[in-house]
């Protein structure tokens, strides 16, 4: 039940973000420049904060050894992502690498 409420709150909040300036009747205000500057760093920051712990500490403790299969597969996927910017290919190579590593170790 809590999860449903969480999802609905995110949904309502997202709609209000989208509506914000469009729905503001009569007002001609725009965003302060400081906020606009912050926006462009939101995506790289949040995404990096999600990715790195998932690769570097998959079991909860920091593990930089080659025995950390998700880190090895992730580095391979990062190379693919950097070269191609292709979401599907990156995911495919990363998952494929993890399966092979899991099978041979």
């Amino acid at each position: 039940m809590t999860n449903v409420i969480v999802v609905v709150v995110i949904g309502v909040g997202s709609y209000l973000f989208r509506l914000s300036f469009i729905g503001a009747v009569g007002s001609r205000r725009t965003l302060p420049p400081a906020l606009l500057r912050a926006f462009e760093f939101i995506a790289p920051s949040v995404l990096a904060a999600l990715v790195l712990p998932a690769l570097v500490r998959p079991e909860g403790a920091v593990d930089l050894s080659p025995g950390n299969l998700r880190l090895v597969a992730g580095i391979l996927a990062a190379l693919v992502a950097w070269r191609t910017r292709d979401v599907l290919l990156t995911t495919g190579v990363g998952l494929g690498a993890l399966w092979i590593l899991q099978a041979v170790t």
């Binding site: 709609y15 973000f17 725009t30 995506a43 995404l47 990156t90 990363g94």
Partner: protein, 232 residues
């Protein structure tokens, strides 16, 4: 009506044509999201429902991952909303042309506002000034994406329910984020933001209820702004 219909038809056709190539990237992402959501504690039903309720892939993926990890509700909401906050920027950029639309359109179209719809509409609106064309073009691009996204995530959820655990499909979440990360990093300041946020997130990952994520994002944004200021 007689002069308006051709405009509407042209706008709807143009919208579908403009969005079609972008769906090649959206549909696989939707499938992956559906498959992944079905394999987490969130489950297929609520996982799918995030599509019509939130309608934002990255925010949906963040929410599913954090709920699966048992993060506190406030952390899930805050993080997903931070991810979606870029829509405020789009809303500000589109507010002026939207003023020419009737009120029901002004209140309903923003639901369909996405990265893709924003990019396509702002490009097209630069050359098409008729408000009728503009709103039907926006509706057409937005609805094409909406239908594709709902369908892709639904198919993903149905297929995903039958996939065994050893496939490690939960690993698809960071991989998708990784691909999105490489396209979102632009210039030295963006790199500084990502590097700082990543390192802080690793160090702070032990903090309760995943608040480390919020701390890391704030640190990354600060680092990005600082580097941008120094390098002019």
């Amino acid at each position: 009506m007689s002069t308006r219909s051709p405009t509407v038809r042209r706008a709807v056709g143009d919208g579908i044509k403009a969005m079609a190539p972008l769906l090649l990237g959206v549909v696989p992402f939707g499938l992956i999201f559906g498959v992944t959501a079905a394999s987490t504690a969130v489950g297929g039903v609520l996982g799918f429902l995030t599509s019509p309720i939130i309608f934002g892939g990255a925010a949906q993926l963040v929410a599913v991952q954090l709920i699966d990890e048992g993060a506190a509700a406030i952390v899930v909401v805050t993080t997903a909303l931070v991810v979606n906050s870029r829509h405020v920027m789009y809303s500000a950029a589109m507010a002026e042309p939207f003023r020419a639309f009737p009120t029901p359109w002004r209140w309903s179209l923003p639901y369909l506002l996405t990265d893709q719809a924003f990019v396509l509409a702002s490009a097209r609106w630069a050359t098409e000034e008729d408000p009728v064309y503009r709103r039907w073009f926006f509706l057409s691009t937005g609805l094409s994406l909406w239908i594709a996204w709902q369908t892709a995530t639904a198919v993903g959820v149905i297929v995903g329910a039958g996939i065994p655990a050893w496939w490690s499909l939960d690993f698809a979440i960071p991989l998708v984020f990784l691909a999105l990360l490489t396209s979102s990093v632009k210039g030295r300041a963006g790199l500084a933001a990502a590097a700082t946020a990543g390192v802080v997130a690793v160090v702070a990952a032990g903090m309760p209820w995943n608040v480390g994520l919020t701390v890391a994002a704030a640190a990354g944004i600060t680092a990005g702004i600082t580097v941008r200021r120094w390098s002019g």
